[in-house]
Symmetry: C2
Subunit: 275 residues, 2 copies
């Protein structure tokens, strides 16, 4: 089960401790082969410079995170949001990331209509497909946890992601990102993963802490919570996924407060054991 | 749509402002016909005294909240938890509540197995049915929001509640409580409500605030958030529900800080308009 070559550490895991160069140096120092980059940090350091830094240090990329938020009921706002996703796709291509993690967007107080927001998301994705194809970067549709449905993602289940993929009919360029933290509670997760099969192009792991206190920034290190992560890894692999296992831990009060080498050391220790 | 006789205000909505007698007095003063009582408050005031107070003031009851948390992997703990539910059923019967809101329980760190926790919940409910039937109080299975799955409820969707009801085969004594706050994000909510039909024995309303900051105590007043509450009310009614519309608002920093008459005044104003 231990396969060091498949470990990826998402940049957000060390979001507050490191600039992009410091983060890449920490990966190199600890022989971590792969990462997924955080868009804000990439724009801060510069797209070209980031791409060079990654390539020069022989780091692989499992993704670029994130683009989306295209559910506005205002046509102009939605068009601008789609343009921003196209820029994110260009950036992903420039740094060599295979996919852009796609976060649909939430429900607007102006219309309070989740069904309409879902339709707008789906129509918006359809409009983005030609650009994604032209730059060769997959759109990785990521179901997010229902607790951030209002602000971030009306795509709340793997089942719905599968339905969107069915309707889009663009298997070459639209995939699904499975994030354990977002979907572990789903009674239909097994069926969803099995049906997703090779659509799964990204697999993010973090744990659900029993005493979770924040809706976004209190994720747990694999092994510290209640999710059967090893079981979920086996399920995505049984469905055909053979890509990176990406540690993605938003943790304002714990892991973001620690030294980079300590955090990476703990991840190395957990990887292959609890996930 | 306005039908004042169907308004119920859950005791938890004024949890921090009122003792049970103060709460009942506020209902009477504002001509609110119905409530659902909070178990801790009932035990504090005394079951018999609470029952008398409710009856003497001509207040109807839409429920008693809550019993459950029976998913422990430890047999003795689980047995004690079921005994506690039996006591809660007795209390509900004594005060004249038609149903006990049933909260399944979470995932234990000792086994990290959500599927096993679900099976234990279902088996535990089966063991509670004879007692519920003997005292004539329905078990209202309440799907709760996935964000409190770890600590409170592995029952996360209406669909799963329907599956449990199918397996239990006790339609006379096991129903479903639909709480808008818990299920609004569900892509399959329409089908779930339609299939639940007359199983729906309790309907709780509160709104999801776009800037929600707490996992349990930051619910919004209907009209202040992003849920299409009127739409959901129409759906449960189309499914056959004709019971009370129960306002249940856990709100530590807003509604729990206000005067009872002000809170009830706002509810009266919203009832029949946004829900």
């Amino acid at each position: 089960m231990v396969d060091a070559e498949r470990l990826s550490i998402h940049q957000v895991t060390l979001l507050q401790q490191c600039t992009t160069p410091q983060f890449v140096a920490a990966l190199v120092r600890n022989s971590v082969p792969c990462t997924s980059l955080w868009r804000e940090k990439t724009l801060e350091h510069g797209v070209e410079a980031t791409g060079r830094l990654i390539a020069d240090n022989g780091i692989a990329l499992s993704g670029y995170c994130f683009g989306g938020l295209i559910t506005s009921p205002d046509r102009d706002e939605a068009a601008r949001a789609r343009d921003d996703v196209r820029r994110a796709l260009d950036e992903a291509a420039a740094i060599g990331a295979p996919c852009l993690v796609f976060v649909a967007g939430g429900v607007d107080e102006r219309d309070r209509n989740i069904a309409a927001a879902r339709e707008r998301a789906l129509e918006g994705i359809a409009k983005l497909i030609p650009h994604a194809r032209s730059v060769g970067v997959k759109l990785a549709l990521e179901p997010l946890h229902p607790m951030i449905c209002a602000t971030r993602s009306v795509l709340t289940t793997i089942k719905l992601a599968n339905e969107w993929c069915d309707r889009l009919g663009a298997e070459d360029i639209v995939g699904i990102a499975v994030d354990t933290y977002a979907v572990w509670w789903d009674p239909e997760i097994d069926a969803g993963i099995a049906r997703a099969g090779r659509r799964i192009c990204s697999f993010h792991v973090s744990d659900w802490l029993a005493d979770t206190r924040d809706l976004r920034l209190d994720r747990g290190m694999p092994g510290d919570g209640v999710i059967d992560l090893l079981g979920l890894r086996r399920k995505v692999e049984a469905a055909g996924y053979d890509g990176y296992i990406e540690f993605e831990i938003f943790s304002q009060h714990n892991w973001w407060q620690r030294e980079p080498d300590e955090v990476i050391g703990v991840i190395r220790n957990r990887y292959g054991k609890v996930v």
